[in-house]
Symmetry: C2
């Protein structure tokens, strides 16, 4: 169970392909995992996700603990049965979410005390409690409880949070009992290469079946993220899957695969879809734009997704402008197809030796959203989350 | 084109089965037609609608005229192509919607002047303009522009509105040019049997390919609606399809088929679904109730809809409580399946001679929502619509 086989490597970059075997089927890496925060990948049915080729989804411990409660899901046979998804599932540990609650939480060595953003009720997440919740949920891969640091943070604070994350990882290992779940540790250390190295080496010593890389894409510039990532991955074990948490734009998929990452999850494709932003081979298209009013073409010529095979830009624009649910579904399908297809092309290119040229081609044609726009989006989302959490 | 064949009749009631042939396939009657107000049956894809067995959907002229505009849809090849639906479509005339705008509209002999509830812009719907819009949309069945009366209304006002509706029907016939569309007249007359008889007879004389029955289910008690319906249908031509507009609860389907109605449309199944109300063989179930928190059963044992085959009440409750789109989809699918399946069972029972016992059985087991609750719901919706229209 949970064997990870590296199947091919790229001679020019750190890219590699592999398979991670789970009780609910294989995950072919590099893998993009859609996010199903509340036991559903927003707007989609599990059957649509399968058709899109997703082999694993991520679900959120924090949200499911609050609603409907992990004990309820356990009584109903676990998360797979609850949400009708028979492929692999990862659950995060809730560390990132409770951390984001800002003034609603208190961190100490035992764990994090926080108030629910739904009803203000008090909760404690400790490594032991999080293991209990994740065992109730029953995902194939469960993440250790960690303390995430924002950007910017002082090296002192990052060191302190990292050390605690390590102690919590050991407590998670002791508390974890289910043999049909793989417990992944999470490498922290902010943007400080020496801390990242320490974290990677220490966690490697615990011989866990896989490792997350946490605390990246939390506000730092992309170039800094890529360089920290490089200096992290080189100290991580070659034989274990490396999962870069919360990252997954098209450009990040390429750049981080090139730096040795095997697994990704990100709300980006599904979240921007609901705002009408669509991935194309040259960058993002906003379908709300007036120029698409009577544009009969599909979002992208040649795209084989359900949306592009059946509907025009004009219809998508109409649906999104009219706030129709079908619009959210169709844009979500397109964006997930785009990323899952990109991952599949990357997986094919690596053993074929064509990954470097695929990467060069992508860099030449795709215009990513710049750091400034990203920062503005992040600030707006954080403010919205804080408002929703102001009870 | 538009041949209507009555295939069987019930010896004890006025129920009958038939087929209405359209350029986009047959409509087997009695038929329930899901409502796709803004060129989409809310939350569903056209492929799901097909799987549910819908042969025809209704779309709204008022909404599509305002957004994206019927000329845009015409340029894109018409409504079928725009929304990816290759079966039959009915468009209403917008008469009911502009009427509902209350203080935002002025009625005179030429037509109805109104302001858009979206942006306050001024518009005129006349019989000629409505025919132009409905021809742009290109539905198979288009409804004549009518003046709908609320309940209660004086006989004087109902007579005046009915006479105008008749004059407008003649103007619609003169203005209508497309041979691939069937223009249906609309019988009005409020709750006054003598007016209903006049209206049915006059419109029958115009020899239109089918007739709508308008102005019912607008606030009058159910028993009154059923009795007015009986006294309307008996004066309508036997050889033409009879379409009861805006009506379609399970009990109405049964009671009105028994009174000779062939076609129904109603937002009820899709609208209440989005509030978590589900049809079952004994009445409505509200999936938000706490008792379903860890209920592993499907909504209805034995139901063959996608939702009941794959998901528990507990999961549906979780999705609806969490405001997840998948919840809206799954409840919508169940409710439409329920009504379309009911219509199919009715169509099978009539030629088999078992419709009276099916009806008796339904009456014995199904508890409809009572007039009082219905009136409260209607008042709340009307208030919400007026608020949204207060620009």
């Amino acid at each position: 169970m949970f064997e990870f086989v590296v199947e091919s490597t790229c001679s020019d970059t750190s890219a590699r392909t592999g398979v991670l075997f789970t009780p609910h089927g294989p995950i072919h890496t590099p893998a993009f995992m859609p996010v199903g925060t509340q036991a559903t990948v927003k707007t989609l049915s599990p059957h649509e996700l399968k058709e899109l080729g997703a082999e694993c989804v991520l679900s959120n411990t924090y949200h499911l603990h609050l609603r409907p409660g992990s004990e309820v899901i356990a009584r109903l046979g676990g998360l797979h049965r609850f949400m009708g998804w028979d492929r692999a599932i990862v659950t995060d540990s809730g560390g990132f979410q409770v951390f984001s609650l800002a003034h609603l939480r208190k961190i100490n060595e035992d764990g994090i005390q926080f108030r629910s953003h739904l009803d203000g009720s008090e909760h404690l997440f400790s490594p032991e409690r999080v293991m209990e919740i994740e065992e109730n949920l029953g995902a194939d891969i469960i993440m250790a409880f960690d303390e995430c640091t924002p950007y910017p943070s002082t090296p002192e604070y990052c060191l302190q949070a990292m050390d605690r994350t390590h102690r919590w990882a050991v407590r998670c290992m002791k508390a974890h009992t289910r043999r049909d779940q793989a417990l992944f540790g999470i490498v922290q250390g902010g943007v400080y290469p020496e801390l990242r190295e320490q974290s990677a080496r220490l966690l490697a010593g615990l011989d866990l079946p896989g490792y997350g890389i946490g605390g990246l894409s939390v506000g730092e510039p992309k170039v800094l993220m890529y360089s920290v990532l490089e200096q992290t991955v080189r100290h991580m074990p070659v034989s274990k899957p490396r999962y870069l948490m919360g990252v997954g734009s098209p450009e990040d998929l390429f750049e981080c695969v090139a730096r040795g990452v095997d697994m990704f999850d990100c709300v980006l494709p599904t979240r921007i879809a609901r705002n009408g932003a669509l991935f194309t081979s040259t960058g993002r298209m906003n379908i709300r734009n007036a120029c698409y009013l009577d544009d009969d073409a599909p979002v992208e010529e040649g795209c084989r997704c359900y949306t592009c095979r059946h509907f025009s830009r004009a219809y998508l624009r109409h649906l999104i402008k009219s706030e129709e649910v079908l619009g959210l579904r169709l844009t979500t399908i397109h964006n997930l197809h785009f990323l899952l297809e990109l991952a599949a092309r990357i997986r094919a290119a690596i053993p074929a030796g064509t990954f470097p040229s695929l990467l060069a081609d992508f860099r030449a044609h795709y215009t990513p959203v710049d750091d400034e726009a990203r920062a503005a989006n992040r600030a707006a989302r954080a403010a919205a989350f804080r408002r929703s959490a102001e009870i």
